[in-house]
Amino acid sequence: MAQYTENELAKDLDNQDYKFGFVTDVETEKVPKGLNEEIIRLISAKKNEPEWLLDYRLKSFSIWQKMTEPNWAHVKYEKPDFQNITYYAAPKQTKKYESWEDVDPEMKETMSKLGISLEEQKRLTGVAVDFVMDSVSVATSFKSKLKELGIIFCSFSDAVQEYPELVREHMGTVVPNTDNFYAALNAAVFTDGSFCYIPKGVRCPMELSTYFRINAGGTGQFERTLVVADEGSYVSYLEGCTAPQRDENQLHAAVVELKAMKDAEIKYSTVQNWYPGDENGVGGVFNFVTKRGICETNAKISWTQVETGSAVTWKYPSCILKGDGSVGEFYSVAVTNNHQQADTGTKMIHLGKRTKSTIISKGISAGDSENSYRGLVQIQKNAHGARNFSQCDSLLMTDHCGAHTFPYIECKNPSAQIEHEATTSKIGEDQLFYCMQRGISEEKAISLIVNGYCKEVLNQLPMEFAVEAQKLLAISLEGSVG
């Protein structure tokens, strides 16, 4: 019998090409490279922004200038040259599309290659897609249906124009511009993103979804997402990414802010598949993202992420459990292959009484990659009866990759209960043997085991997203996952 050994699997993984490497040829409008006050004024003027926002950007810029780039993460990369980045690129058409038929056919092509053509989405899944192509949102569907319920779901720049009070009230309250180096940079130069507001007591009837896509070469993308769920409301928000093949490193420094008011629930799911660089570790996206949510009384925020892309990933979706009885959840699968590096995890800050958090993190390292979990669980003095459960497992596929765990556990309250456990191992030979002995090929068996290993997390994803996530896992680990 032709045996499929682990070495062969490793070889296959090494040769695995990036599947979504194509560039859409759409004329883009860019501002000159570099970063200074002028550029920021230019971006602000191009987007026709009110003065308070320009002031906020300039203030963030002066804060950013005083900061130094952090280097504590377990990743190695060449620091980006911030003066060599184009901070604004918009598809050239300035007029808004009247209907779906008016959209540039080439762009439609891109979307169908990604498997998210709007027609199909509209017809089959009932998902409203806010498609962000290089910073300016191109098409927004289901808007009218959402409007009936009072739900606002639009691009960030539209929100600035149409709902300035809401944006001003909530922006920067979860991730202030002083928070960290990349958050400050984002606050200064962010180009677009999504804004979502769910009014009191409304349960959003469909899953809201945004596809981000880096397109023009050398364009850093600085997205800003703000989701506000008012009292008693519910929303499930999906975010997915694919990026075309490039040789130079692209910087992606997004900020995501979630606010769950009293009794509200936000479910935020991400499938991330930025270009990870080729098998020699050349090129690839730097993904330095700040994601954070605040939970008021009895609110719940749940982060689910499937990370398969990016050359360097550095992100910690966090929950501040401020209100009594609030709940934070974090489910993550991070796959690294070739020379990818990931330092990811979460922070759960328990402030309120009876707050609960769950962390399930699954790391899979293959090739020469480095995969780290770094998490913080902090129980403050007044968080009586707080409860945390963390589990981080790592799976190693080759003998030249690395898997690391750095959990920080800080407890200041005697009634809190914190549990943390982590394991690191390779796929069990007895499990493989069991499957093969029942006639399943080794390749299929590995796929089965990896899928089972990630199941706890994949189960958390909305159905149609879970299918895509499984596809991405398969692409990232092709040869092992059928």
Binding site: G402, K412, N413, A416, I418, E421, A422, T424, K426
Partner: protein
């Protein structure tokens, strides 16, 4: 004008060592201290521990001759170090060297180790060299505000067996500054157990570092009991350099008052086919704080490593705090590594069960805490060490 570092301020209060330090070691230590300052929160390894309080201590150098001391082991050969200095007129112990023409040059890249060299109060070399099990106990007895800077070199020769007890006992009210560097070599096919009991005075700052080197087929275990003191920091660095090694680390701590205890352990698996197990447990009361940082490295090609790490804490008061950081850094795939950490309180149902059977609340809690720490004590093979620590835990709660 050059600003004075906190080390400079400290050094003005200490009197230089009278032991024969080699020039090489002295120069290296001076060079380290030249640029060093007390570690701050920004230093990841000292994120939760501040040593600034050391500079508030005042020292005196009266050498008291203690009449009584409490040995733990009846069978062990004993060496007494009183207020940091080796007690005069003691019986010579075979394999223990205390007088020097020149101190060994071994040193680490650490500011407190450099300080230890320059202000060393006693240097002790211990050699275990026979298949017949030997037991040696070092009794560090001190009172008032003394300074203890011992350097200890332990060698467990090929195919030898040994037990070393490091018994630190300070009088209850004392505020000493203890700074210990211990270098341990565990050679091929040898077997070494170390028991370290830190029963310090309530004002004492105790900084200890162990540097352990394990050669192939060796077995090493260290049990650390931090029972009292103002600040206790143990840095345990174990380098496993040979295959088929076993490493056991156990620790228990009982903290109350303003105590701060910090255990930093590192196990570095450089070669394949080794086993390590770590278990640290403790209870934290009053405004005490505990820090645990365990690190397991598995280097590339160090396959078939089984490494387990566990830390459990019980927080008894509203004002105490626990910081736990168990880390794994793994570069080989055919390994089984796990770690776990828990922080919680006593099970209310268990307390209720005991109370419904007539135990007072205090007695019930004491019993449960003893059972909780009992898991660590079970790992201790030495009966006398075990019963000594049990007694101390009992005293800790009755006080």
């Amino acid at each position: 004008m050059l600003t004075q570092s906190k080390f400079d301020i400290l050094r003005e209060k200490l009197s230089p060592s009278i032991l024969p330090i080699s020039n090489e070691a002295r120069e290296k230590a001076e060079a380290i201290l030249e640029t060093a300052d007390f570690p701050t929160r920004r230093n990841e390894r000292w994120k939760y521990t501040s040593v600034n309080g050391i500079n508030k201590l005042t020292f005196d150098e009266s050498i008291d001759d203690f009449d009584s001391f409490n040995p733990i082991s009846a069978n062990a050969e004993k060496l007494i170090i009183s207020n940091g200095f080796i007690k005069k007129d003691q019986k010579q112990i075979k394999g223990v060297k205390t007088s020097w023409d020149e101190l060994p040059t071994k040193s680490a890249d650490d500011a407190f180790d450099a300080l230890n060299i320059l202000y060393c109060t006693a240097a002790i070399e211990i050699e275990f060299d026979s298949k017949i099990h030997r037991e040696i106990e070092l009794i560090f007895i001190n009172n008032d505000n003394s300074v203890l800077f011992p350097r200890i070199f332990v060698k467990c020769n090929k195919e030898s067996k040994g037990t070393l007890i490091l018994n630190f006992q300070g009088s209850e009210e004392s505020s000493c500054f203890t700074n210990v560097s211990t270098y341990i070599d565990v050679e091929e096919n040898s077997h070494l157990n170390v028991h370290k009991i830190q029963k310090n005075g309530i004002g004492t700052f105790d900084l200890q570092r162990e540097y352990v080197n394990q050669a192939k087929n060796s077995s090493f275990s260290i049990n650390t009991f931090s029972l009292s003191g103002r600040l206790t920091r143990n840095e345990l660095n174990i380098l496993v350099n040979g295959s088929n090694c076993e490493t056991f680390m156990n620790g228990a701590y009982t903290l109350k008052g303003k105590s701060h205890c910090d255990n930093h352990t590192t196990v570095d698996h450089k070669v394949a086919h080794c086993f390590s197990k770590e278990l640290y447990k403790g209870v934290i009361d009053d405004t005490a704080t505990n820090v645990f940082n365990g690190k397991v490295f598995v280097r590339k090609d160090a396959q078939k490593i089984n490494a387990f790490q566990s830390n459990a804490n019980i927080l008894l008061s509203e004002t105490g705090s626990v910081n736990s950081k168990p880390e794994l850094e793994i570069y080989a795939d055919d390994v089984k590594c796990s770690h776990g950490s828990t922080t919680g309180q006593l099970d209310e149902e268990a307390v209720f069960y005991l109370r419904s059977r007539g135990l007072s609340e205090k007695a019930a809690k004491e019993l449960l805490v003893k059972a909780f720490l009992g898991e660590v004590l079970e790992e201790v093979e030495h009966a006398e060490v075990r019963s000594y620590v049990e007694n101390q835990i009992e005293k800790h709660f009755s006080a």
